[in-house]
């Protein structure tokens, strides 16, 4: 068989192989300083999006180790309509997974019918005692932010039925939307000025091609996260963008009448949902936590979209609170309308309204790595690692600084 011809050649070859490796780059990954890029499917830890959970108990029942603990109570929801029946709803009180028992089989994630459980590649949650591995809802919720979007499938993969359907639907919707837009645009054209501030909807309607190019980043990200292909997500997101833009304009119009003080900042300019915009704060925090560039960017993007949405909602609310009676026009408003109503005297918008509606996220604070010493000390005292404490303390500092700025502005 593999007998060597000359005695000693085997010994020399052994020396040669080893000395060859002496001059090779070591395969070692310097772990705490360097990190492996883990695959998105990695079963690292189970994350819970508790807002999705309906307490159906499927996961707890299917878990081979019975290591999921769920407590809930029933709550009666008053009827939606006058005369309707009151319904009961399960409210999640406790959701805990005992990771000292879990065998990471993934059955719970698989069976959850409401997409409340997800795998995250996070793995650094070892503890000194076994019982410390029992993680409750809050902790599981934290991990939900680390769930990466699933990877695209192989070229040979068959698109799942939902996707094929979605493509057809999205295409139809897109067509319809474009048609509607065109109709609207024709009506709105007269009122539209050249002002760019946010009026992209009506303006774009002039050139349907351009409008089609704009997509709703949120929808896009969500679809990609669901594992839809790039193309489908784009087309759906386009449709969603058109839809949203319409809704927004409508809402603005609704609020527009009495919107004198409520919207002092030219939000309309911010609203343009631009691909690639990220939430710098989130991004910095994640990078500081040692997340990879890719993950941080993706999350920060999502965070930005989320914040933006929240902000818009809050604005719309406050505007509505401002009690504008004038917002009933059926016609889509144009920025000039809004500008015009700016001059109209405010009826009863409270002075502190703008400050109240402003979110921390709107305030930008320049920080050069300052940390909140108090938080830092507290965390260190709790036995957190240096790295975590620093990252968290940094975040705390940023938060505080922002609050201070806000207060200042509010005071002024």
């Amino acid at each position: 068989m593999a007998q060597t011809s000359l005695p000693g050649t085997g010994l020399l070859k052994g020396l040669a192989v080893t000395v060859k490796h002496l001059f090779k780059r070591p395969a070692t990954l310097m772990y705490p300083y360097e990190r492996n890029e883990l695959a998105p499917r990695t079963r690292g830890v189970i994350a819970l999006m508790d807002e999705n959970c309906t307490v159906c108990m499927l996961c707890a029942r299917e878990c081979p180790d019975w290591c999921i603990y769920i407590d809930s109570h029933k709550e009666t929801v008053p009827p939606a309509k006058e005369g309707g029946r009151a319904r009961t709803r399960n409210v999640l009180d406790r959701f805990a997974i005992d990771f000292s028992l879990c065998m990471y089989c993934g059955i719970c994630v698989e069976v959850c019918p409401f997409d409340a459980l997800w795998w995250s590649p996070e793995f650094e949650y070892s503890e000194y005692t076994m019982d410390a591995l029992l993680h409750e809802k809050d902790k599981l919720r934290e991990w939900a932010d680390t769930v990466p979007p699933p990877p695209a499938l192989d070229e040979g993969a068959e698109a799942p039925a939902e996707v094929t359907e979605a493509i057809a639907k999205a295409e139809k919707e897109l067509e319809a939307a474009a048609q509607k837009e065109a109709d609207k645009a024709a009506a709105a054209e007269a009122a539209t000025t050249e002002a760019k501030a946010g009026g992209s909807g009506p303006k774009k309607a002039d050139e349907p091609k351009v409008a089609a190019g704009e997509i709703d980043q949120e929808t896009y990200d969500a679809l990609i996260a669901e594992g839809k292909s790039e193309r489908i997500a784009r087309s759906k997101a386009k449709a969603a963008y058109v839809k949203k833009e319409k809704a927004r304009l409508k809402a603005e119009a609704d609020a527009g009448g009495g919107d004198a003080e409520a919207a002092p900042t030219p939000k309309a300019a911010d609203i343009k949902v631009e691909a690639g915009q990220i939430d710098q704060e989130t991004y910095d925090a994640l990078i500081a936590e040692g997340k990879t560039e890719r993950m941080a960017r993706a999350k920060a993007k999502a965070a930005w979209v989320k914040k933006e949405k929240a902000r818009l909602a809050a604005e719309a609310e406050s505007a509505a609170g401002a009690g504008a009676p004038a917002g009933e026009e059926a016609e889509p408003p144009s920025p000039t309308d809004a500008a015009g109503s700016d001059q109209a005297p405010s009826t009863d918008a409270p002075a502190e309204e703008p400050a109240a509606t402003r979110k921390l996220g709107d305030v930008h604070v320049e920080g050069t790595g300052e940390i909140d010493q108090e938080t830092y000390d507290a965390l260190i005292a709790e036995g957190k690692s240096e790295r975590i404490a620093r990252a968290k303390a940094k975040a705390a500092w940023v938060k505080k600084a922002k609050q201070a700025k806000l207060d200042e502005e509010g005071g002024a």
Partner: protein, 393 residues
């Protein structure tokens, strides 16, 4: 051993196998005694909780008795209370180095009982994963066997390769050891984008590094001195003990169910079964090492064949195997794995019997160790490749 005369039975203990104590042999004025040496349950060479009681005359082994059961986890009974999805997660744990191949057996058993058509693509993906898993397993044993003979380096090289492969498999399955990727009717989810490209790259790299193992271990004169002629296993003994896998192939018998009874799509490709001649430790290692190459060949063929299409078929929410029984055998990395699945139509099996290769292979140990030297006993122990969890279940 100064107090031999006074001690007829030294240190009797209630542990199994421990009751054979010193026994005075010969009648000369220099009495010698057999020493009973308990290797394991916690011993570096047994990689797991496996125990062998050796009766030693000096360094010469007079008798060897494997004592098993330290890791019995009641898999067969447990399976009777788990539905088929849970069993997949259970079975990839008895031989923890061949998780994917274990799940595969269960999936095939359930599918055959349901007479389920498995999409082609799913079958090819399963083969691809099974062969990667086989390489993972063999690399581990190449490293650990060399380590048992005192060569520390191959282990590190083997783990470097293993890391690449595990990373690859993790990108598709989410697991590094316990893949849980099979489900009745196919695999859980299709391969991620770029998987096949990466797989081809790793196959190429592993092939290049294959020579390092040949030069460092197989061709080394010391290694040959330690293994050639050590623990030869005759064909008839091997057959009568039910030995399978590389240990059987080393004796020159090409019984491999991928070839003799092809499952999945193994019938559509060339499967090479490396064979030995004498069935000694060297041949066993030779076969193991060359099975890596053979598996790489298979992987390259799979890359060329991979069809497009769906990877799983529609199933009811709760899979229930119809009443009846089936025996499925697959070629696991360490030998033939058999699952006997008997169902009464319920959501769990009525009986789930495992025929695991390691359990049968360790039956050869008493035969092989008889009369060997203590270091050879270790060399033999390492060369009938076994996983303790696969023995005890």
């Amino acid at each position: 051993m100064s107090d031999l005369e006074t001690t007829e039975r030294v240190l009797p203990s209630n542990a199994p196998g421990e009751d054979v104590a010193f026994e005075i042999l010969g009648d000369g004025d220099f009495p010698t005694a057999e020493m009973s040496l308990s290797i394991g349950p916690a011993h570096p060479a047994t990689h797991g909780v496996f125990r062998i009681v050796l009766d030693l005359d000096g360094e010469r082994v007079r008798g060897a008795r494997p004592v098993i059961g330290y890791m019995h986890r009641g898999f067969e009974k447990l399976a009777e209370y788990r539905d088929y999805r849970q069993i997949a997660a259970l079975t990839n744990r008895h031989d923890w180095l061949s998780g994917f191949c274990n799940e595969l057996g269960v999936a095939i058993a359930v599918e055959s009982m349901l007479e389920l058509e498995v999409p082609d693509r799913a079958q090819w993906i399963r083969m691809l994963m099974a062969e990667w898993n086989r390489i993972l397993n063999h690399l581990m044993f190449i490293g650990s066997y060399a380590l048992e003979l005192g060569a520390i380096t191959p282990m590190f090289y083997a783990f470097r390769e293993r890391e690449d492969i595990q990373h690859l498999m993790e990108s598709a399955t989410g697991g590094r050891l316990h893949f849980t990727y099979n489900q009745p009717g196919g695999v859980k989810i299709d391969l991620p984008k770029g998987f096949l490209k990466r797989s081809a790259e790793i196959s190429k790299v592993t092939r290049e590094r294959f020579d390092d193992y040949v030069d460092l271990v197989l061709g080394n004169e010391i290694f040959q001195g330690r293994t050639v002629g050590v623990g030869p296993l005759p064909q008839d003994v091997a057959l009568s003990l039910g030995i399978t896998g590389p240990t059987l192939h080393a004796t020159g018998i090409a019984e491999d169910s991928r070839v003799t009874e092809p499952y999945l799509k193994y019938g559509d490709i060339d499967v090479e079964v490396p064979l030995g001649e004498n069935g000694d430790a060297f041949d066993r290692f030779y076969v193991l090492l060359h099975r890596i190459r053979a598996s790489l060949d298979i992987i390259d063929q799979i890359h060329d064949h991979m069809p497009a299409g769906p990877v799983n078929s529609k199933l009811p929410k709760m899979v229930k195997a119809p009443e009846g029984a089936i025996y499925v055998r697959t070629e696991n990395p360490l030998g033939q794995l058999g699952y006997w699945l008997e169902s009464d139509g319920g959501r769990t099996p009525w009986r789930f019997k495992m025929r695991t290769p390691s359990f049968s292979n360790v039956q050869a140990i008493p035969y092989l160790m008889q009369g060997a030297l203590l270091p050879d006993a270790i060399s033999i122990l390492g060369s009938v490749f076994f996983v303790v969890g696969d023995i005890d279940r």
